[in-house]
Symmetry: C2
Subunit: 259 residues, 2 copies
């Protein structure tokens, strides 16, 4: 836990928060700080900064969070993902990883090689995703929750719903292949994003997309990019894709130019 | 499983292998292929290619692996990692991820912020690492096992043992920080590797390296590079670092030039 996350409603009008749950236990038993100590905290969707412990006993911890009102709010990641719905066990872990990596929006979609029963998992309930997202944000030091959307029809998503959902985004389809094939890497392609443009990366199911799905992506303006020659598990493909796009966006921001 | 892995000793003089374990079950119940079918297989440390099912019953599967004798052997990754020993639960999962990402050698080291009890874990036994490595290789389609070495003294490793172990390697210390700080990204620094040079990336424990350790790294020729501004979990730091260095090595190979 590198950042203690608070819900906006937990902070009262005086800027104080009373914690009685696992977070209080963390402050007391792991961080082992007492009254007067400062620690990093953030309001979900809001600012992150130092808060002060002003009360601590067996029942909980009281924090003075008034500094968070004017603390800087982290920027939302400009990377969005379109994922073929992963198997529930993998998805559960993926939530925390994606929040840690920094992703703006996650579109979970059906696909030919997605098993039906994946859609019945409790992992798709809002509470589960939110708890895991918070773990990832606490690790990363971020407060901005990824947005999560579920689509039961791949075709409807890519043909109809994507246009209003992700207007003007740079669209990349991450796939296998060496640069020698003439295919750009995800990073190279993302260097082409204009300063405010969002980058949407599609990552397939185990076994990959089928030809019909690839054709739909091309039709919707996706450019096929490579993440290298290895067949990566979904979590690693996501990490490499998000890492490569963030790297490109940082490069563009530093140089102040886009291709 | 994208590649069925075989031990060299499992293939007899005629080039045949008889499988009776979980791999036979996988061929029969998941791949559902019968006699005459071909599937991707590889010999650990050797070639990967197509093998033919020449026998299948309740007791097992017989494969004709003669094609593997002349099949191309995948290249060993030029990326090595020096990791502060992660907590056992994290390390177990990390083995498979690192083999999937492609890592040549993994140096696990003690560090000031590594807990003593991590060294007592069964996760450090050879068998555990090897099983997890094989999972990662099967996923990635690779046959080259990472080499795993454990060091109980950080100082001895960095001051004395590294010179003979990793002579002439490009040495990077992955750390937090924006490019705006003037620090290169891991990818940018790895563009400086000469054609055959190995790249060794050091990744710290939860909580980071302490000042003494950073000084030792500098003394041993490590250049501090950034993986971005987020505080990543060890598994994600490894993925981003290995991904970034592989990307740089592919770029250098395509352009045929180094800086």
């Amino acid at each position: 836990v590198n950042l203690l996350l608070l819900e906006p409603a937990e902070i009262d009008a005086r800027g104080q928060a009373v914690l009685g749950d696992v977070r209080a236990k963390h402050v007391r038993d792991v961080l082992r700080v007492g009254i007067g100590a400062t620690l990093r905290a953030g309001v979900i969707g809001g600012g992150a900064g130092d808060v002060t412990v002003i009360g601590a006993d067996r029942d909980g911890v009281i924090l003075d969070c008034s500094a968070l009102r004017t603390a800087p709010v982290p920027a939302r990641s400009r990377v969005d993902l379109l994922l073929a719905l992963p198997r529930p066990k993998a998805l559960r872990r993926l939530y925390a990883s994606l929040a840690c990596l920094g992703v703006g929006r996650i579109l979970l979609s059906n696909a030919a090689r997605v098993e039906r029963y994946y859609f019945d998992s409790h992992v798709l309930e809002d509470g589960c995703a939110r708890r895991q997202f918070q773990k990832g944000l606490s690790q990363a030091g971020d407060t901005i929750l990824p947005e999560l959307l579920l689509f039961r029809s791949f075709r409807k998503l890519v043909e109809d719903e994507l246009a209003p959902l992700a207007p003007g985004s740079l669209r990349l389809l991450a796939d296998l292949g060496a640069p020698a094939t003439g295919r750009e890497s995800a990073r190279e392609a993302a260097l082409g994003a204009s300063p405010e443009q969002r980058v949407l990366v599609a990552i397939g199911p185990e076994g990959g997309w089928v030809d019909f799905e690839r054709a739909c992506f091309r039709e919707a303006g996706f450019v096929t990019v490579t993440l290298g020659t290895r067949i990566l598990s979904v979590d690693l493909a996501c990490a490499l894709a998000v890492g490569a796009v963030h790297e490109a966006l940082r490069e563009s921001a530093v140089s102040g130019v886009t291709r």
